[in-house]
């Protein structure tokens, strides 16, 4: 308490904050960004290790050899899928029944809030088919899931084939302690959400489905498989889930361990690991992997079907087989052996995976950065907002103290006049706050509610109408007459904008802090772009420069630049026009994710970040 109560030290500290404010802020920003960039440097990130005792060593001898059977199942499935024009429910049921599984099917339907480009209709109907392999000598209290999405066209046929072959192999073994559910879900994420909701008997989104017929106890872990070719050159893992939630790191370690055991090349974010670490290209590679993960996690979209399991405390990952132009190809048997090994290890679990980290970043598959190491980067960025807020507060209380000194001098009339003119009170802040939040709420509610009105008056489709309404309201917020404070007395003064800026900075700090705990990447991306401009903006000084900077850091432009960076990182660079198209698509998908799966990114940005940004815009045009 010495620092807070000793008046001499307080005076020194407050003088430090007031005088060195800008240098401290710049230093803090540099420290934050530098810390983040240092995370990709291999010695900073420790090697991954298996934390769960029950999944200790990889001593099993895998004996899966039904690679050919998998391919034949795949071809049959492809043929039936083409004939049925969707999931061939009857064939799948019959095949699973013949393998000895308990088969159930679950029809579901969902009314989309607006038909997007991929689905082009309001109502989506589908069926999930799943078979349960009961453990021979256990009590059916726990289970594992192997799920395969049924996609349109020629995708994922081999995955279904491999799943059926694995099912037939697993059926013959006696060592299963948990039930295994083999699930084929239609319409990817929609089907998965329907299945999970029915399985856990909850109603989070407005999915209509028939109830669950067959259950197999609490699901301990799940693996989602995507394979679209007969042979693979590498195996990719996707970890990011809904709202940036990540599975337990042990599951990723498990995948890595078994890939190494079977000699399978494994990648993350599509990038292979490099063996050197002290060269610049290696650092760049590791930084690219890290940035890809940050961008994907920040978008809040599940990067595979596994993303929806995480909400129910079920650790899950998606593994994808990739067939690129490498020379060495692996056949289905190797892939099957890897999956068999993983499932046998998961079979040994005594309790849910909880030993390893839940909050991490992966600059490569064998190195990780835990929350304790990456949070200080974010902390430095928030420190800038706190320093600036303290600076404003001290300036405001100095303004407050001076009328009192004048009173002491005996000049009462002047003091009263000064006191009245420099105390506009908190009422002048209420109109900007109300207007900004009203705009935010309009941005959230109006696009989907008003899509029918929009399609009647303009020749656009519904999804275009929704996206264009979003953009229109966003831009209209800039042009709103914010100068209502001129109507009230005592406004237009320095105190007014300083108080509003103080409020806006604290509001921004609180929002970013709360969101960084839930989804670190989203918080960090918003902080890295918005914080320096938020701290610097003020009505005096080069107004147009500040205006341009403020527009550059608005969340929509951050999204646009994020898409551009993402395309660069996956080595698929796009032109400006294509980037714009992708941007419109991203906005539509963000809205859909919110309505269909409960993603928080769109409501958070619309109802909290955007009004905060509008408050700063207000501060800029205070005079």
């Amino acid at each position: 308490m010495g620092l807070l109560s000793d008046p001499y030290r307080r005076r020194a500290l407050s003088r430090l904050v007031l005088r060195l404010n800008t240098p401290l802020c710049l230093l803090s920003y540099a420290a934050g960004l530098g810390w983040f960039l240092a995370l990709a440097f291999p010695p900073v990130a420790p090697r991954t290790y298996m934390s769960e005792n029950a999944m200790g060593s990889t001593m099993v001898e895998e004996q899966f050899a039904y690679g050919e059977r998998a391919l034949s199942y795949a071809r049959e499935f492809a043929g039936h899928k083409k004939k049925a024009g969707g999931l061939p429910v009857a064939w799948l049921e019959k095949t699973m029944w013949n393998l000895g599984l308990e088969v159930y099917k679950q029809p579901f339907s969902r009314t989309l809030p607006f038909p997007d480009e991929t689905r082009e209709r309001y109502m989506v109907k589908g069926t999930n088919v799943y078979g349960i392999l009961r453990a021979p000598r256990a009590a059916s209290t726990e289970s594992l899931v192997l799920s395969v999405p049924c996609s349109e066209g020629q995708h994922n046929n081999q995955a279904v084939g491999l799943m059926l072959a694995l099912a037939s192999y697993f059926r013959g073994q006696i060592y299963w302690a948990k039930d295994i559910i083999f699930l084929v879900n239609e319409h990817d994420l929609l089907g998965m959400e329907a299945w999970l909701e029915a399985y856990h008997d909850v109603n989070i989104t407005e999915m209509q489905s028939s109830g669950m017929l067959g259950r197999a106890g609490a699901i301990q872990a799940a693996v989602s498989l995507e394979l679209s070719s007969d042979v693979v050159t590498s195996f990719d893992v996707a970890v990011e889930g809904l709202n940036g939630q990540l599975p337990n790191l042990d599951l990723v370690n498990l995948f890595h361990a078994f890939c190494q055991k079977n000699g399978l090349l494994c990648t993350i974010q599509g990038k292979l690991q490099r063996s050197d670490w002290d060269t610049l290209p290696a650092y760049a590679h590791s930084l690219q992997t890290l940035l890809l993960m940050v961008l994907k996690q920040g978008s809040g979209r599940p990067q595979g079907d596994h993303g929806l399991f995480l909400r129910y405390h079920i650790e899950a990952i998606t593994v994808r087989g990739i067939n690129s132009f490498r020379q060495y190809k692996y056949d289905m048997s190797t892939v099957g052996k890897t999956l068999e090994g993983m499932f046998r290890k998961l079979n040994n679990l005594l309790e849910r995976l909880h030993q390893s980290y839940f909050f991490y970043l992966l600059p490569s598959l064998s190195r990780f950065v835990s929350i304790g190491v990456y949070m200080p980067a974010f902390g430095f960025l928030i420190l800038i907002l706190v320093l600036k807020a303290l600076d404003l507060w001290m300036k405001l209380s100095k303004c407050d103290a001076s009328p009192v000194e004048r009173l002491w001098d005996g000049d009462q009339a002047a003091a009263h006049g000064a006191a009245e003119e420099s105390r506009p009170g908190l009422l002048t802040l209420v109109p900007p706050l109300l207007i900004c939040h009203a705009t935010g709420l309009t941005l959230y509610f109006l696009p989907v509610l008003g899509q029918h009105v929009a399609t009647q008056h303009f020749p656009v489709s519904e999804s275009e109408a929704v996206v264009l309404t979003v953009i229109a309201i966003y831009v209209a917020g800039l042009a709103l007459p914010h100068n209502t404070h001129r109507v009230l007395t005592g406004s237009g003064s320095d105190r007014g904008w300083m108080t509003l800026k103080l409020l806006a900075l604290l509001y921004l700090a609180m929002q970013l802090g709360c969101v960084a705990l839930v989804n670190f990447s989203l918080g960090f991306l918003l902080a890295a772009t918005m914080v320096p401009v938020a701290a610097a903006v003020q009505p005096t000084g080069p107004k147009y420069l500040y205006a341009v900077l403020l527009v550059l850091v608005t969340p929509a432009v951050t999204l646009l630049l994020g898409i551009f960076l993402y395309q660069e990182l996956i080595e698929y660079p796009v032109s400006v026009l294509e980037c714009w198209q992708l941007f419109l698509q991203a906005v539509a998908e963000g809205l859909l994710d919110h309505y269909l799966y409960g993603s928080i990114v769109f409501p958070f940005v619309a109802i909290f970040v955007y009004p905060c940004w509008l408050l700063l815009w207000n501060v800029l045009f205070w005079k």
């Binding site: 109560s5 000793d6 939630q245 909400r311 705990l517």
Partner: protein, 351 residues
Amino acid sequence: MITDVLTAIALYLAIQDFNKVVFKKQKLLIELDKYAPDVAELIRTPMEMHYIPLKVALFYLLNPYTVMSCVAKSTCTINNTVIAFFILATIKGSAFLSAVFLALATYQSLYPLTLFAPALLYLLQRQFIPVKLKSKSFWLYTMQYAALYLCSLVVIICLSFFLLNSWDFIPSVYGFILSVPDLTPNIGLFWYFFAEMFEHFSLFFVCVFQINVFFYTIPLAVKLKEHPVFFMFIQIAIISIFKSYPTVGDIALYMAFLPVWSHLYRFLRNIFILSCVLIVCSLLFPVLWHLWIYAGSANSNFYYAITLTFNIGQILLISDYFYAFLRREYYLTHGLYLTRQDGTEAMLVLK
């Protein structure tokens, strides 16, 4: 909700009366020349004190914590109403009603027992009985008040016995509050400690934690015997921080009193940081609860960290107000612009 409105009305009337008392006392002290000559700006005027009762009532009603307790239909609001009526009765000077309401408050949750001391001090002040251990009238009045209080408490407990036909309610209510068997996470400090502790030591630590709540009464009574209402405010705050199962409704009650001490604003040193800490912690509570219970990614340590920070913020807020109060009293008697012996400006340091 009706109880909330009743609490607000009770607080309004109480503070109105209290302001009159404060003003009278101030006038008396000025006439007796007890104040230093240059403290003109510290003297409170009726004009600035005019809106304080309304602000108190509004602070209570519009506090987000009160709204949350109301929405959650918590029984904390009934506790708050009884304590508010107790304060009203004490300030109006009615010893009987004050004892009855204090007995009701103690009957519901044990901790308002500590409010006996400030109420006694205030009533003694009102009766112009000086607090001296040798004075006969002091002991006589204390005995009277204690007797009223204990009798009403006994009456209420016996009434409960007759309604229930057994003494089971005593271990269920008071035993529960004192022995803390249920460790559901809340915004208090108890649950985490006792979840981590070995059984062998739990009795010792329960005693330590409970003594901590009651302990501050005596030193505060010694220091604040001239200012019993401020003592009451600090005591309510201490109860709501250190009790075994605190809720945000308790916090709303002591926060409602803050406008009464708004004249201390210029002496508060850390109000900005503390209010930021309190607001940030209140916002982070649901986020970390969600991460712990629903997402399963965090664990109880994350949530308890926020609980600790929140309670530290509250404790620092109370100690800040205490410091500001003492500092103002010092300035009133010693003058606002302190000079050392050689004439240079001196600064007041709390050691």
